[in-house]
Symmetry: C2
Amino acid sequence: MDRRSMVKFAGLAGILAAGAAPAVHAQATVRWRLASSFPKSIDTLMGGAEYMAKQVKAMSGGKFEISVHPGGELMPPLGVLDGVQGGNVEMCHTAPYYFFGKNEAFTLGCAIPFGMGSRQMTAWMLEGNGGKLMSEFYAGYNIVNFPGGNSGTQMGGWYRKEIKTLADMKGLKMRIGGFAGKVLERMGAVPQQIPAGEIYQALEKGTIDAAEWIGPYDDLKLGLFKVAPNYYYPGWWEGGAELDFFVNKKAYDGLSAENKAILDTATRAAHVSIQAEYDAKNPGALKQLVAQKVKVAAFPKAVMDEAFKQSMAIYSELNASNPVWKKIYGDYLAFQKDQLLWDRFSQASFDGYMRGVKLP
Amino acid sequence: MDRRSMVKFAGLAGILAAGAAPAVHAQATVRWRLASSFPKSIDTLMGGAEYMAKQVKAMSGGKFEISVHPGGELMPPLGVLDGVQGGNVEMCHTAPYYFFGKNEAFTLGCAIPFGMGSRQMTAWMLEGNGGKLMSEFYAGYNIVNFPGGNSGTQMGGWYRKEIKTLADMKGLKMRIGGFAGKVLERMGAVPQQIPAGEIYQALEKGTIDAAEWIGPYDDLKLGLFKVAPNYYYPGWWEGGAELDFFVNKKAYDGLSAENKAILDTATRAAHVSIQAEYDAKNPGALKQLVAQKVKVAAFPKAVMDEAFKQSMAIYSELNASNPVWKKIYGDYLAFQKDQLLWDRFSQASFDGYMRGVKLP
């Protein structure tokens, strides 16, 4: 190559490099790992995370890929918060109330006994102050948070014997996840932490007297109705449990503006899809359970009332002892009251009428 | 430039062109127009469409842009279906039941009197057969559809005089949108079609006796409480009105795989955001209305029962006369019954208890 051509070539290459560099940079593939707290068998939640990852990949033309790992595959199911905080994985999918031992305020982004329902929680998180308040709190754990589904009101679990009075709760050994155990303790029950795979045997042997899991669709798969045929409702400790996607802050900050928007939008789409899937699948499963002679019954009012009273006492104590809780719960409670007021005149009024009519 | 340099330059340019062409192609900006059926003043719905467009632009790095136009700007608010079908605009945001005159089946993708609520509709559309059935139907109009929000249960409107008995509905001149007018007619009322901007004056002058709009947040802005202070609930004709984004099929087919995924995900995120915004904003507006001495009251049971009876009679007639209706409504009704069954044991049971307690 002669000198003049060299100059021209170098000049052109320089121009091209300047122009092409951002495009090449934008096309570098980002690969993340998501650690779920849930087993593969909870296909609604695992499916929701997989749907999110699928949309992220499709929207980015394959330039942003998130591999989804069930609970236990990369780390223990309840180790995912530490995993994201420490940057061992970029992302997790979990139920924030699992981490109430670190700070009770985690429950407010998920579910508290006698707390908000699914639509109410979503409204608080997306359009109320909930999103901002919880984000400030999670930032202390290096976490950027995105709502990632809701189960709707869960069932109150499986009982070997009928619960007829408040006294029947005394000494009841019950498998129950998270914060609700604290309320049950004050009612005289004995909460137990048992992994999903061991609940059936514990109930069969009588090591425990009762166990709550999720709702008909997930409960049916565990087969608990065979060993504890009394199925109570409602799950007053989970009027609408929100799941979340937690993202390591440094990993999030490293995303391009496009990928940030892609993650934000894909998680929000997954949020609504998961609730829709639970709503679509639970009724059929409930009918199957009833066909298996499961006895479905409401908790006695005295049990509900005592649980409510003890829950409010705990929240009052937390207001005094935990300033983070106090700040967030104050806003949560005001929003909840407004939602309950409006619901009376809208959805609850309409739904109440619909439950009383005979459709063709 | 000497000849050798020319050759080199041309050769390099050719190589570059060959290599760069796909990248340039992928980066070509797609520009769409969205015609809304709603005025700017309904900021929840217009805001939802704008949020969707903002996410589309951000996710695509500005390579897919959708401009959002309020009702009347590009075409009449109710002309948007024809606009999308004919390809005058690529996309619209509308309430499908506006088009029941073309086929009553449009109402099933939006709201029918005594139909499904917000979460139920979302479950049917995203995870039941609703999405598939409605898509097949809309395909006949060159339309690809995406859920685009829900209002939740609306209010039953503003009345100059109290409604105490079924007889008070006779001769009542009422501004009401869409299909519900057919039910009111059978109850002896006289439905009227009046644009939003003219409702206030018509009520003030007594040209009409009543008018329904949406819910507290939107109703407050129209100021109807000043001229018709009786505010009834629930809006039995809109237990949960779904909005939709309709996309011209040819325009949709012309999108890249990335942009298809971007549109699909952004509309789904907007779907949940709109309901959340209504839920967050309605309670405060209701409180403001009550402070203005609005009389909020439930429709008498006799009115609800007659409306229910007439609605079911209409659906029965449509089953006989409209095979498309019959096919879709059959699935809708079965899904609705399942949802009402499950609701009894879950959200409704929980919410019912919550309405009876005194929160701190």
